[in-house]
Symmetry: C2
Subunit: 214 residues, 2 copies
DNA sequence: ATAAAATATGACTATGAGTCATAATTAACA
DNA sequence: TGTTAATTATGACTCATAGTCATATTTTAT
């Protein structure tokens, strides 16, 4: 009898419904301004029920983030092509990430939120830490950086992991600034596209060839 | 009669005392976990009094951030030397920022906090926006990038402002990741120093010479 | 039909930011 | 120096919201 299985599915579905409701609420009010009552109302559930499915507000936020990371990761997987060199794929991934940040503000903001948190100070930081790479976008970077070293388009004097993580961090920094300082850059007449372009220009040579740091 | 002036000074002093108390509290408990009562107790004042000097908890935080930005800016000013080329000064500033992030966690965390906030969603975002550059570390970058273009050590095909802001954003991204994902990198056996080094290596050539982005 | 298990509810508690009527202190002036 | 006015400080209070828990409802098993 499949009753247990059906219940399992229903439970999973309810979780997803809650996440969807939370996405809507967070999207329109932002995480900080959203209350659990807002989410409960949107999900057509009582507040207490939310706590049967999630331990806390932050945990709902993390669930959204996981979805976002996985969505971004999928887009990256679709994008990587063996027709391109390693470094070409690398910049394509950059574009994917940039578009993602513009097109999926809720997911992107969620990712930023957790990138901005000290894992050690988060209740379930351990869980995040252990899953940080599993199926995450950074894994795609590893892959492409490694391929680039093999096909000779990416310098191979730096460890793959160090390079991938540095590239991720740099890009994230740029996207974060684009997102949060929009008005400042409007004042300065700098467009997001120009910042991304500049970011690429500055990295292009360094990814390809060894520098001469003293 | 200097009574008004003295009172002015005393008021300013009390403000500073409150900021100092808040720094202590935020340092030991972190911003989120610190309460206004904590700060009041540390400052040996009542909670109500805090609100005579600051409009909100976040405004105290911003006052700390301003102090931090100004401290960092001063360190950078001390560091810039006409004995060095533009690009040399640039990497020196990077080192200053990195050391600052390690040695002044409260100030650095405060800066990160506001870099991670959407200015448009902050009550006093306008004020921050308008003062974002005045005497800020980014201004030092402008200065050094421009000098580098003049002495030929920094490529001059990109606007100074775009380049300075991109370099700031990238560095901030790397420092943020170092700070918040410490345990992850310990697991991966990557040291903060290696990430910084990699960051420099990747940027070195691109800062010096034009790349070949399609 | 009934008992047991699972799921849902919302009134309640706890915490902490921010307020405000009142009190204490300081300045001004006779 | 004593009295009044202005300034500054206080902490009990309000209010918002995350999270809990005793109770109610629904579902499953027999």
């Amino acid at each position: 009898m499949g009753i247990i299985e059906r219940k399992e599915r229903e439970k999973e579905q309810r979780r997803k419904d809650i996440i969807l409701a939370a996405e809507k609420v967070f999207h329109s009010k932002g995480f900080d301004r959203s209350t659990m009552d807002d989410v409960a109302e949107e999900a057509e559930l009582s507040k207490g029920t939310l706590y049967l499915y999630f331990k806390s507000k932050v945990e709902i936020h993390w669930a959204i983030t996981e979805k976002g990371l996985s969505l971004l990761s999928d887009r990256m997987t679709e994008t990587i092509s063996s027709d391109r060199t390693g470094i070409e794929n690398l910049f394509e991934l950059g574009d994917v990430f940039y578009r993602f940040s513009e097109e999926q503000p809720v997911y992107f903001n969620s990712i930023l939120f957790f990138e901005g948190k000290d894992l050690e100070k988060l209740e379930f930081g351990d869980i995040i830490m252990e899953n940080w790479f599993k199926g995450s976008p950074i894994e795609k970077l590893y892959e492409v950086v490694e391929a680039g070293m093999k096909d000779g388009t990416v310098r191979d004097d730096l460890p793959v992991s160090t390079m991938a993580n540095t590239l991720w961090a740099q890009m994230l920094g740029v996207l974060q600034v684009i997102r949060n300082k929009r008005e400042v850059f409007e004042m300065l007449n700098i467009t997001p596209g120009e910042l991304i372009r500049c970011h690429y220009e500055l990295l292009m040579n360094g990814i390809k060839t060894k520098g001469f740091v003293s």
